[in-house]
Amino acid sequence: MSDLSNPNPVIYSVEDDGNLFNQQERFTEDEDTVDDFDVYEIFDLVRDITDPEHPLSLEQLNVVRHENIKIEKDNNFIRLYFTPTVPHCSMANIIGLSIKEKLARSLPQRFKVDVKVTPGSHSSESSGMSNNKVDTFFILIIIHSFIHCKFIVNKQLGDKERVSAALDSNSPILSVVNECIKI
């Protein structure tokens, strides 16, 4: 129990679906109308990801909000900010990784996805040192939650090599991530 970084998170009520998501108008049924990608669609993809520590969705924990998703259709660019439940949340990396991976699996390749911690919401968003050993960092995160403070979440998530190494098919992190984004 003691290794939970946030044992008692605040639970937010899930937004009413009727207003935003499963509205019939968003899902046109004729053959010709083109439905463009929009923030709600992106949000729909990430809202059900579960927190690695709690059996709660990111939406319930208010980690992701549709207001914090930007989409530039012309540049094929998506930027998503997520807010860890507590400023020093050790699971921020895993959450970020899960979001990134879920989007990679679910969106066409033309999109470039940028996943970041909402500015000012995490103690380690901009300070720290770099680590050349790609994989060790993520493993450490899982084993010892306190070491993380010295590393940069945003930088980690931006580092392509590190991300792909973390999600290597033999990596223990992959199973954690898969568990988080299981449908």
């Binding site: 605040v10 049924e29 053959e31 669609e41 699996r105």
Partner: protein, 1110 residues
């Protein structure tokens, strides 16, 4: 051969087994003969033995059979062996004696002999070498004979003192237990006299047992021991120590043995031991608590269940000193453990223990001290750690203790409620300082109050005699709570408002005191906690909230209103709730009529909300009966005022109406409705849009009404309706005297034709055979009706009229017992087959439609003509005329489709023209259901399918026409899974073939995509039901599916092929899917960028499913 020699043979261990057993048999025979006076029987037995065992020794015995073998002779002869110095020989000798006693249960022994044997065995117990033989002997002696006073005791004492259980084999250890068991049954006093000595010996004996068979016996014996030997009390600790070694039982019997002892058997027996005496409490409860704190989830849960059973058996007195520990352990589990199963079980345990403690009034102090522990800790957590998991858990514990019983609810609530209310007031004062957090806490307090109220209601639902007339603990708080919640209804937070709504409804239905009543029935005025005026205020505020702009709040208030309505008297509802609702509906209607265009859409929405609420309330049967007149006036109003929201009223009729409700006002209601429709349609040469919306709904309503009227009343209606339509007697309807040219079956004006469905629907629902009801309709009349209907079917250019007449004819044919209908078919076929150009296409299709409906009529009543007609239809599938062919292929869906009126009517996605809505409404009405009096043969679908399927299959194989595939899939869609599975071998290749054909054909005409759609549908059904039968075809299936999902022309095709892929990933084992994983993941990438969001969503789900395969 003499007896002594036979004895020698038996004892000599070097001789082969068969010879020795023969020797034993000879001796047994001898002994048996002595006892048995009837020589004849004896000879018979000998002969039988001879036949079975072709052994010479018996022949010898026959020679010497004149000799009598007496017991004392036998023992004398055995004497040498019994005292032999050789261990082996001595034990063999003892065994022989034992065998004689064992196998001759009827051996008559006199007192002297008995005491001799007793002494002998007791003495021999000291002989280590033959202990197991002696145990067996004692067992025989105890089981078959009655030993006198000192021997039983002595025997047991010696047994305990001399024989070490580990030296005995399993069966003999069991024998000792059996001896004890028998002695308990027959010589209880003797054993009880042994007292402590018995317990000591017994404990020694059962300690360390490992064999499950013996354990079963031992566990089952223990409660008897505890019951019979009062001295066990001083040994309770060691007894429990022995038992606790086995807990929790981990034992896996061999699968092959059907009689094997299972783990469940052992566990339940052990549980009985645990629960056998309250003296175990001080040992077992700490022991179980320790197990609950262990790490293994299964053990935790099992221990909690054991704890519940034990505490019930021990009673409150024994549990009292331990309850603090119990609470400590359980609360620890609930508050800190992660596994939801454990948490649930812990809560259940608390619930059960609370309930057990509150059964006896005498135990109340114990219950109070237990609950106080819980209360204090919970209120502490709730106050200090607001809005967190801890507080939520504590709240749920309180819910458990409250709902356990009325008594516990009183104790808890009278402590908790003042604290909570005070805490709440404090929060309200502090809310200025920290609005975000404090209001959050406020919400959770209201939520908690709601949970507590609910739990309290729950506790009042189970009735206990002991708690008769216990007053509801809410009673003294009711006013404070009422004021609080009512105030909160105007709170700015939606969540708070909806919570307080629920609280109010729960408060509303709380009853004053604990009485035995049927749950669910409406309560008397005095029984409810709140006074009448308060209740009315609640209803009023609920009704006003029905129109809230927030969706969730609206549904919530409706739900609460429903809860109240179910528990409240009808009179009160009629006095207040219903009039208010109706008033709301009507005022809006009037506003709407005034034509204020800007506000009309909002008022329309408002009215809809109220109407929905009204509809839901009408599902309560007793209420519905009393509001029938209101419904009628609403209905007529709506038709008059062109107000298009009859949908909600329609559902009243569909869902809740039944015969008893409608009995009294059917006439007024039905003909009122019909005349209004006539006026609307005939008078107003109004827009067809309005008619097309009004008509289907009205038809459904008429259908429901007529269906629920009994036969004799139906006859009156039908007589009248025939008069109106066939005799053109429109004057029977009020207000229509001015219509002059009323000839519905002759006139070809649109309005008159639109009214025809009303007639045909009513006629089709007759619960009797119209062709044979001469008292009602003359034969000529019937023929006239049929002829008119037939002509309308063929000639009418309005589909709704044509279809409904076809259905009506079908219903008449179905119910008709005579054979007069053949000429109908004779009339139809020429029209369809007429290839000259003088029949127009529309008429042909209409005729085909009629043919389909007639076939359906025969199919349902089991007439053999259905198959002949089926063949005709099957031939038409290959017709060169594309339309006929299409229609015929689709007709198989209509044939087998058993329509049930249900809410889940699929909105037709293809085309939304008004025409098609009407047609689909009409076709989907259950014309030939049991409720409408149709003659229905059991399993008619299966019969038709088994006969029709080979015909279509053959036709397909010969012609290769894709239309046949459409027909087949239509057939498959409607049969039960069992039938489908039996034809799987035939079906699957066809489906796969059609998929692959599609893939190759570059151009997909509309026809083809229709076929592909139905193939995919069938495939989806198969994947869901019998995934394993698909697995051999994966290699060709998956690539086709990927291609369709990315290049399919229709979005439904792309969507459903992705859906099939998703289901495949979920239902087949990993090793089957693994080879295709990468190709699917890469193959459906283009679908992620599909232009349709529906497809994209499916693609995302599918791709993610395949990614996490393992």
């Amino acid at each position: 051969m003499t007896t002594s020699k036979t004895i020698d043979t038996y004892v000599n261990i070097q001789l082969p087994e068969t010879e020795r057993s023969d020797a034993l048999n000879v001796i047994l025979m001898g002994m048996y003969r002595v006892r048995q006076k009837k020589r004849g029987d004896m000879m018979m037995m000998m002969m039988i033995y001879l036949c079975i065992n072709d052994s010479f020794i018996y022949m010898q015995y026959l020679d010497v059979n004149s000799k009598r073998l007496e017991l004392h002779q036998f023992v004398k002869m055995l004497g040498d062996y019994l005292q032999n110095r050789d261990n082996l020989l001595r034990s063999r000798g003892t065994l022989l004696l034992t065998e004689v006693l064992c196998r001759l249960p009827n051996l008559q022994l006199n007192e002297q002999q008995l005491s001799f044997f007793g002494e002998f065995y007791i003495d021999r117990l000291k002989d280590y070498a033959c202990s197991s033989e002696v145990v067996k002997g004692i067992y025989a002696l105890v089981a078959h004979h009655k030993l006198e006073y000192p021997y039983n005791q002595k025997m047991l004492r010696t047994l305990f003192s001399e024989v070490h259980p580990s030296s005995l084999p399993q069966t003999h250890r069991k024998m000792v237990l059996q001896i004890i068991d028998i002695l308990f049954a027959r010589h209880l006093a003797e054993i009880q006299a042994m007292g402590n000595d018995f317990m000591v010996g017994y404990l020694q004996f059962i300690d360390g047992e490992k064999d499950p068979r013996n354990l079963m016996f031992s566990f089952n014996l223990l409660p008897t021991v505890v019951r019979c030997i009062p001295q066990y009390a001083s040994f309770a600790d060691s007894l429990f120590e022995i038992l606790s070694c086995y807990y929790p039982i981990s034992f896996n019997p061999k699968q092959s043995d059907p009689n094997a002892i299972t783990r469940v058997d052992l566990t339940s027996s052990l549980l009985k031991c645990f629960a056998s005496t309250p003296l175990f409490a001080e040992h077992s409860v700490p022991f179980l608590l320790e197990k609950i704190s262990a790490n293994v989830v299964d053990t935790k849960i099992e221990s909690m269940q054991t704890l519940v059973t034990c505490s019930l058996a021990y009673g409150a007195k024994a549990m009292a000193p331990l309850l603090e520990d119990v609470w400590g352990t359980l609360s620890n589990q609930i508050l800190t453990h992660k596994n939801s199963q454990v948490i649930e079980e812990s809560k259940k345990t608390i619930f059960q223990i609370t309930r057990q403690l509150s059964t006896l009034p005498a135990d109340k102090p114990i219950l109070e001290s237990f609950l106080n522990l819980i209360n204090k800790e919970c209120i502490h957590h709730i106050k200090t750690s607001q809005d967190s998991k801890l507080a939520v858990s504590c709240a749920s514990i309180l819910v458990q203790t409250i709902s356990a019983s009325v008594v516990s609810s009183r104790i808890v609530l009278s402590y908790i409620l003042p604290h909570l209310l005070e805490f709440y007031n404090q929060l309200v004062l502090e809310i200025e300082q920290d609005p975000v957090h404090k209001s959050n806490e406020q919400i959770s307090i209201v939520g908690l109050l709601n949970d507590l109220l609910k739990a309290n209601i729950l506790s009042f639902q189970t009735f206990y005699k002991n708690h008769q007339d216990e007053e509801n603990p809410i009673l003294s708080f009711s006013n404070r709570l009422y004021d609080l919640f009512l105030g909160l209804l105007s709170n700015q937070s939606i969540l708070v408002r909806s919570l307080s709504l629920e609280c109010l409804s729960n408060l509303y239905i709380s009853i004053r005191s604990h009485k035995e009543t049927d749950s669910g029935s409406s309560k008397n005025d005095e029984e409810l906690i709140l006074e009448k005026d308060k209740r009315q205020t609640i209803i009023k505020s609920f009704i006003s909230l029905l129109n809230d702009f927030d969706d969730s709040l609206r549904t919530k208030s409706l739900d609460c209103l429903m809860t109240i309505a179910k528990n409240e008297q009808i009179e009160i509802l009629n006095e207040y709730a219903i009039p208010t609702l109706l008033q709301m509906i009507n005022t809006n209607n009037i506003n709407n009529n005034n034509g204020d265009s800007s506000s009309s859409s909002t008022t329309l929405k408002e009215t809809k909300n109220y109407l929905n609420a009204f509809t839901s309330l009408c599902t309560i049967k007793p209420l519905l009966a009393s509001v029938m007149p209101h419904i009628q006036s609403l209905l007529l109003n709506n038709i008059k005022s062109k107000y298009i929201s009859n949908e909600s009223l329609e559902s009243i009729f569909m869902k809740s109406i039944d015969e008893s409700v409608i009995q009294n006002n059917y006439d007024h209601l039905l003909f009122g409705l019909i005349s209004q429709l006539f006026i609307m349609i005939l008078d107003n040469n109004s827009n067809s849009l309005y008619n097309s919306k009004l008509l289907p709904i009205s038809i459904i309503i008429i259908h429901s009404i007529i269906q629920n009227i009994n036969q004799s009343n139906q006859k009156q209606i039908i007589e009248k309706i025939i008069d109106i339509y066939i005799n053109n007697n429109i004057n029977l309807l009020n207000g229509l005297q001015h219509i002059s040219s009323w000839e519905p079956f002759i006139s070809s004006t649109q309005q008159q034709q639109l009214l025809i469905p009303i007639f045909s629907i009513i006629l089709s629902q007759a619960k009797f055979d119209i062709t044979n009801a001469t008292d009602l309709i003359s034969v000529e009349k019937v023929q006239q009706i049929q002829q008119s209907l037939f002509e309308k079917v063929i000639k009418s250019d309005i589909s709704i009229a044509s279809i409904s007449c076809a259905q009506c004819l079908s219903a008449i044919v179905n119910k008709s017992t005579g054979n007069s209908n053949n000429n109908l078919i004779e009339k139809i076929l020429p029209i369809i087959n007429d290839n000259s150009n003088n029949t127009n296409k529309k008429e042909k299709l209409n005729a085909l439609n009629l043919l389909v409906w007639i076939t359906k009529a025969y199919l349902i009543n089991g007439n053999s003509q259905s198959i002949q007609l089926g063949r005709v239809l099957s031939d038409m599938v290959s017709s060169p005329d594309q339309d006929i062919s299409n229609r015929a292929a689709q007709s198989f869906d209509i044939l087998l489709n058993e329509v049930e009126l249900s809410e889940t009517k699929q909105p037709s996605t293809t085309s939304n023209s008004n025409e098609s809505i009407i047609i689909s409404t009409i076709t989907n009405l259950p014309i030939l259901s049991s409720k409408s009096g149709a003659v229905i043969k059991v399993l008619h679908q299966q019969k038709f399918f088994t006969l029709m399927f080979p015909i279509l299959l053959e036709a397909f194989k010969q012609s290769k026409l894709s239309q046949y595939l459409v027909a087949i899939t239509n057939l498959l869609r409607n049969v039960s899974k069992e039938v489908l599975l039996s034809e799987l071998g035939e079906v699957l290749p066809i489906v796969l073939q059609s998929l692959q054909q599609q893939q190759q054909q570059a151009d997909q005409s509309q026809n083809q995509s229709q076929l592909l759609g139905s193939s995919l549908e069938t495939l989806l059904m198969l994947v869901k039901d019998v995934p394993n039968s698909i697995s051999p075809y994966l290699g060709s299936l998956i690539p086709s599916l990927i291609t369709i999902s990315t290049t399919g022309q229709l979005l439904t095709l792309r969507q459903s092929s992705l859906e099939v892929l998703t289901y495949l990933s979920k239902s087949l084992p990993y090793q089957k899917l693994y080879p295709y994983k990468q190709s699917v993941i890469n193959g459906i990438k283009p679908a992620l960028d599909d232009k349709k969001r529906l497809v994209r969503r499916e693609a995302t789900t599918c791709r993610n499913c395949w990614y996490i395969l393992s």
